[in-house]
């Protein structure tokens, strides 16, 4: 088994195999690649590269997708109630 490395995924520390690719990480997390955007060390990746890009010690990975949203506060899940006119 390959040596383990530490990476950061969506802000959380996580161990992974030293020879793992971004594609391997997504599969391990059971994330379907369609409608997902991946940022590796602040660079947005082309999905074609997921299976060719090996992860390195200390890499920062962000995996994003679409959620319900219209107004900004909704999207952040803060909710701020209603402001009545009178």
């Amino acid at each position: 088994m390959a040596e383990a490395i530490q990476i950061q995924v969506n802000g959380e520390q996580r161990g992974c195999r030293a020879d793992a690719t971004v594609g391997d990480l997504l599969r391990e997390l059971a994330i379907k690649t369609e409608r997902v955007a991946v940022e590796l060390n602040l660079e947005i990746m082309d999905r074609k590269d997921f299976d060719h890009c090996s992860l390195k010690q200390g890499d920062r990975v962000e995996i994003l997708s679409f959620i319900g949203g219209g107004a900004p506060m909704d999207a952040q899940g803060k909710g701020r109630g209603f402001v009545h006119a009178e």
């Binding site: 955007a37 994003l64 959620i67 107004a71």
Partner: protein, 257 residues
């Protein structure tokens, strides 16, 4: 009204009501409300995938991309850099080049930072995005956004989620007369008459979220909004009578005793 289609950047839309997908109790309610509204454009936000709980369902599993145009937004972005980053992520997530661009100026009002908006629009238009900017009810800014290359502009009716309705109908009217692209009134609608008023002024569409999702019965309000937008559009096309201070009798005087 059969051929009264809304066309933006070569895309044809059948509904003049666009809806957001936030604040609902769950995806089932979101789906029902969207269906009741008749909207064919739905806005979504871009956020981190929950990697600790993969059992959570995805909103897009509930929305057929063949039926709806998915319009990602940059909600929650307070500077140009973040807004551009989220727009690029939205495109990378693979829906389209469409982006509802928000650069917010302040957490309390959620008013757009129009200087930042213009800057971010310039960057994204150059990168081939179809930018639909959420902007203030400022005709000069609206025109600048069009000059940069926005195929539509989205001025607010009132602060996001405020439910105050159209606070500045005169400015919106000036935008509609001045700017030669579709105007989508975005944010601030509270109830059906607000949406009807926006359409009567000549808006090409209305986008809302809280007014529907926050109503006591979101599905019923979604339906009310559908009719309000339709009625407002019909009234606009029909051409209202001018306002007069004094009465004009409807019945003839001839033949009276």
């Amino acid at each position: 009204m059969q051929n009264d289609r809304l066309i933006i950047a070569g895309r044809e839309f059948t509904s003049r009501l666009w809806v957001g997908t936030g604040k609902y109790k769950g995806f089932a309610e979101t789906k029902k409300a969207i269906e009741a509204s008749g909207a064919d454009v739905v806005t979504v936000a871009v956020r981190r995938v929950n990697i600790t709980d993969r059992s959570k369902e995805n909103l897009l599993d509930y929305l057929d991309p063949k039926k709806y145009t998915i319009l990602p937004n940059t909600a929650g972005c307070y500077n140009v850099e973040d807004a551009v980053r989220y727009a690029r992520l939205a495109r990378a997530a693979g829906v389209s080049d469409l982006i509802k661009l928000e650069v917010l100026g302040d957490e309390r009002t959620l008013f757009p930072d129009t200087a930042g908006l213009i800057e971010a629009t310039k960057i994204l238009v150059k990168e081939g995005f179809i930018v639909l900017p959420y902007t203030n009810d400022d005709p000069i800014v609206a025109q600048k956004l069009v000059d940069i290359g926005c195929p539509a502009v989205m001025p607010l009716a009132a602060p996001i989620g405020s439910g105050l309705g159209v606070r500045n109908p005169y400015n919106l009217k000036i935008i509609m007369e001045m700017v030669k692209v579709p105007i989508i009134v975005d944010a601030g609608v509270g109830t059906a008459s607000d949406a009807a008023l926006a359409m009567e002024l000549g808006a090409d569409a209305v986008l809302m979220n809280t007014a529907i999702a926050g109503a006591q019965d979101p599905i019923a309000m979604a339906e009310a909004m559908k009719y309000a937008v339709y009625a407002g559009r019909l009234a606009y096309k029909a051409g209202r009578i001018p306002r007069k201070l004094y009465a004009t009798a409807s019945s003839p005087i001839e033949g009276m005793l």
